[in-house]
Amino acid sequence: MKPKRKFNVPARVILVICSLACFILVIFSFKYKDGVSPVKTYAGNIMQPMQRGINTLGNKLYSVYDLFQTKKNLINENNELKNELNQVKAEKIQMIEDQNELTTLRELYKLDQGYAQYPKVAARIVAHDDSNWYNYFTIDKGYNDGIRKNMNVIASGGLVGIVSEVGKSYAKVRSIIDDNSYVSGMFLRTKDMCDVKGNLKTLAEGFIDVERISIDAEVEDGFEVVTSYQSDKYLEGILIGYVSNVTPDTNNMTMTARITPAVDFSKLDTVLVITQLKNTDEMEEMTTYD
């Protein structure tokens, strides 16, 4: 009868204790972001294989439903080919874009390197975040595949997002359409700077926001926005999307616009991770000049 007493603590007391624990956790994880990341990585490492399993199951069921095909090997082959095709397509689009860039803007920008030359790793999306408020997803490649935090993620020639957390065999990616996302962008033709911000509200219509375009910038609908050289995390010159609806702000110093992302996020299932960090690139250059 003595051990029974242990469980007779009133619910109210447990609630207060657990609430306090939660508050301490919140404060702790706010202050020591690096301190809690091992816990998250651990949780991710446990969940990822299961998510991958269920996701492949779901994908398989889906492809059966979609294609009305019953032969497993056909589906497998199809998937493999699709992956390969996506990769080749992405590379092709990048090549074409690169070539256009080179021929029209070489003198202006002195860009002799496009992002098609960056080393890339293909990865499959295995899970999405658990709420309707964010746009995060996990991919099936991680630290063991050479993926590190802050690496850029692209798909079919456009920017998808940035790696925000890395586990042993998974990585968490924050897409540019997430409400918290912020990318420093640049108009390809005029070199005017702007900020590309994710927005859940306008995303429903297929747009995200572009802010702080200089009032003097001569931009029109359909202009391409690429990542700028100012950004310290995003490699330069990756296509973000096409602007529309450029309107001056009330302060008469800046303009805002909408941008249609170059990537169709609703149909995304494979992505390419550029395994080159912007900072290390510069570091390497610095060391070679020494």
Binding site: I14, Y42, Q51, N55, G58, N132
Partner: protein, 170 residues
């Protein structure tokens, strides 16, 4: 005791896995349902405050650790929802499906509102009616739809793992 919590943890993990993978493919009105809320509310309604609270805490911790930015925020919200829904345990009757469904709907709205308040309102996204219309209400409705099935699964789990919470038929 051990059997009960093992079953509960398994249910939470399976729900979470489904929520992050399968339900993304079967979005309705561009939202995914919140299965963790459904599990928390169902267990709170069938087993009482203490169990509801602990289930909520586990759900929240899982959500925080795998996809959250700050550990503890979701845990706190889920735990409170579990505690408050546990109050309804005094009117628990096995064949009453309307009470848990209404509780799921209300809880999901409250959860959505709190998420909005903590993550969006503080960053200057003020259009609360828009978010209610496009995210919070559809999510609550979808969760209620899922709850019709999931509540029965929770009842089944209770019957096999903790019959003391089962009420006699009359």
């Amino acid at each position: 005791m051990i059997k009960k919590w093992l079953g509960t943890i398994l249910l939470i993990i399976v729900s979470y896995l489904l929520q992050t993978t399968l339900f993304f493919h079967i979005k309705l009105a561009n939202v995914i349902p919140n299965l963790l809320i459904v599990v928390t509310v169902s267990i709170a309604y069938t087993r009482g405050q203490k169990d509801g609270m602990i289930t909520g805490l586990l759900c929240g911790l899982l959500s925080d650790c795998v996809f959250g930015s700050v550990i503890g925020l979701h845990s706190f919200i889920y735990m409170f929802i579990g505690y408050l829904c546990g109050l309804s345990n005094i009117i628990y009757w096995k064949h009453n499906f309307s009470v848990p469904l209404i509780l799921v709907g209300v809880s999901d709205c409250v959860f959505g509102f709190l998420c909005f308040a903590f993550e969006f309102l503080l960053r200057g996204r003020l259009d609360i009616l828009y978010y209610f219309r496009t995210v919070i209400i559809p999510e609550a409705v979808y969760s209620m739809l899922v709850a019709i099935v999931l509540y029965r699964i929770v009842c089944l789990l209770n019957r096999f793992t903790c019959p003391e919470h089962e009420e006699e038929d009359f």
